[in-house]
Symmetry: C2
Subunit: 458 residues, 2 copies
């Protein structure tokens, strides 16, 4: 925690940030440049920046290894920076620190910050409480428009947003209404602030509401900030639109990686170590591999049929992949529709009734293409499927209808099942659905073959 | 276009929207209720609402079939509503109308709206120009803080956002700086408005910038609105944060559906018809099926080996799926990293150098598990893999290393290749990668088998 390790770096920050030909650079660009450096070097530069600029940079969740950088800096300076940083961000930074570093810094923070941050850290992760900030603007309902505006001007620097002003009951601290800054400035100065308040119910969140639901509310109502209220409408904090965008991006990344069949990385691709990358990928890959081992068991079970009709094995990969592909389509559709709230848990049977005919028709289309291939190859002499080639064709046709239908049904119902079990529907990955369908697909294929080819090939 | 078709519906709107037990309901809730109705009924209710409420509802992109509803309403009323609606939204609504309905309505709009909307419709879809609004607040640099504030109060009702105020050169209409409302209200009334303007470069977009890049800029700089400027810094419009959130959601849905191996639906799951759903899914499913047919060709090619060593076919599904799964992991990782700008096109070789060892180690892990299974099954007597079972085990082990490595490399390089060809990297779907890897996987498997088992089983 000593900056004197870098005695030659005095003035380095100034040079580092003015190398830009445009002269002035934005906070986002400063963050990018710091991200390109090693932690001690970035910490040294951050330490030499003016307090206001350093606070802006620290406030960005895009800054990599921010907590690690802080532990490299003098703790008195860090405390000064954190006192001036948004409380929700300070809580996030503390989550990333070791117990020891956190306790040491806590003792140096000023009382109000300390209390607010400890309170925020008490909420479970990924809830409204954990992403909200306690720095909002509130006024009692008895104030006039002019008084409120005067107050907003005074506290402007220390609040994350001043575009929504919350009117609280002076006695109970309960949220009674919301005024937007745009309406406030159009108000008559001597009227009560409530004269420009929003009509209608207040859109608000519970501190334990999931961050996905918070994002949905903000999106649905085009809000710049969403108030979080506890029992008896007691106002606790706000979630701002930029926090929600960051949350949405992180969720998207997580969902995309889960759908790809792995644990969410939680870090940029290049920022994660080799061992970390292996851990995140090997777990699911092994689990899927163990699941797919059932295909070997299924194949062993039908060994007699395979020996009698080797021609059947030629189509195993084709048949299996078709089930997996139709399952993957259905799953991605339903995961998204559930995430957007377009479908509810109780809609499962309506989806089932749609996927059933969809699967049958899609299967029939693929089956027809498969049958056509066999006719074509047989008749132009590319391959000889044996004397019963027409029956083999019918087997492929019927098996594809069964497998694509099963794939569509299994793929669409799995996200509902996960949601019902209070798991994340986004955990239904394309490889997982494929594995599920592969084993069943083999059983369907060989059963259909037994039915159609019994007495001829089998 | 005649509302008299519904003579009994007078007062229906009032009843429809006050049936809520809370009394007051929000615009978002009104939209949801209208979405649940048939188009003519929803149009009838919209027509009886007070103008201000109807404009709020029309402004929401979540409203289904809004364009169709408008064509059911008296065109004089529609013109009044559209004149009061944000121009970017009017342009979107017009895009969804038939040529005839559009021309008819255009003639009824007031001159300024007409011009702005025609201008907006001229930009290619999915660009900054096509999603921007021309209704922003701008003032000349010569004005004082007080003058500006007075102007903002006056135009507040007619602007999509007033939280960012743009200072333009009075002669050229070029953007010179930006003032946020929060800084403006803290300014000294008689100072020049430029005294509270932001320092540093202005973050701005070109009208042809892609909407994804616009979203990235807004996110990166935590903006509430991004100015769009043309040649010579001429100010054209703004993109607001709520438009960007809508765009992000739509993009996410599209990417998720593409990754699931289908065309993006473009509509909610339940809102799309049966035939439409089939079209969106059958195309890709058939393309993948045709690709997978190469697996049948590959199997036919190795028919001799299969006949001699049927034991090899038992592991075909297991081997193939492992390649597909590792490819799906790598693809989802790289698509996301490219979308977030964490990786650039020129990083492809760095990714290659990471995926190569990752693939080898992951393949070795799966190979070891596969080998262990063969040893176990053989020795506890669950299945007899023949006298050369140890060699079969080595074949599985070596093939898995080759296939998982190939899957990781192909899966990670495909998004780069698509980006290089100026296609959307998100088009690299999990099923597409699996298909790519399946065929190669079979060739690798049987080639490894020939190498190891030649002289014994083969």
């Amino acid at each position: 925690m000593n900056i004197n390790r870098f005695p030659l770096r005095a003035g380095h920050a100034a040079r580092f940030f003015t190398s830009d030909s445009l002269g002035a650079i934005t906070t986002a660009e400063r963050v990018e440049r710091l991200n390109a450096l090693e932690i001690p070097e970035a910490a040294a530069i951050l330490a030499t920046l003016p307090q206001q600029k350093a606070v802006c940079i620290l406030g960005r969740p895009e800054l990599h290894n921010a907590a690690a950088m802080l532990t490299e800096m003098p703790s008195e300076q860090v405390a000064r920076l954190l006192n001036a940083t948004a409380n929700d961000r300070v809580a996030d930074l503390f989550q990333e620190m070791s117990e020891g570093a956190r306790a040491h810094l806590f003792s140096k923070l000023d009382g109000a910050t300390c209390l607010a941050v400890q309170h925020l850290m008490g909420y479970p992760p990924r809830t409204a409480g954990s992403i909200m900030t306690t720095e909002f603007v509130s006024v009692p309902a008895t104030w006039t428009v002019e008084q409120t505006l005067e107050h907003v001007r005074k506290v402007e620097r220390s609040r994350e947003t001043i575009y929504a002003i919350y009117i609280l009951d002076p006695a109970t601290h309960a949220l009674t209404s919301v005024v937007t800054l745009r309406r406030l400035i159009t108000g008559e100065p001597h009227e009560k602030v409530s004269s420009v308040a929003q009509n209608g119910g207040i859109v608000r969140a519970d501190p334990l509401m999931s961050q996905e639901d918070v994002a949905r509310l903000i999106r649905k109502h085009d809000l710049l900030a969403l108030p979080v209220v506890g029992e008896n409408e007691h106002m606790l904090g706000i979630v701002t639109v930029d926090d929600v965008i960051d949350t949405m991006i992180a969720d998207q990344t997580e969902d995309a990686q889960k759908f790809g069949g792995m644990e969410a990385l939680g870090k940029p691709y290049m920022a994660i170590g080799f061992a970390g990358m292996l851990r995140k990928r090997a777990g699911w890959l092994c689990a899927l591999f163990l699941g797919e081992m059932l295909t070997a068991s299924a194949m062993q079970h039908f060994e007699g049929e395979i020996e009698k009709a080797i021609v059947l094995t030629l189509f195993v990969p084709l048949i299996m992949s078709s089930g997996g592909n139709s399952g993957s389509q259905a799953t991605s559709l339903i995961i998204r529709a559930l995430a957007l709230g377009e479908l509810k848990l109780s809609d499962w049977w309506r989806v089932l009734l749609r996927e059933l005919p969809t699967g049958i028709v899609l299967g029939a289309i693929l089956g027809a293409v498969g049958f056509a291939r066999i006719i074509l190859w047989q008749n132009i002499g590319l391959y000889d499927y044996g004397e019963h080639w027409i029956l083999v064709g019918w087997t492929i046709f019927a098996a594809l209808i069964g497998i694509v239908t099963f794939g569509s049904l299994a793929g669409s119902m799995l996200p509902f099942l996960l949601q019902r079990l209070r798991l994340d529907p986004a955990s239904a990955s394309a490889p997982f659905v494929a594995t599920l369908v592969d084993v069943t697909g083999l059983v369907i294929y060989f059963s259909v073959a037994l039915l159609i080819l019994s007495g001829t090939l089998l």
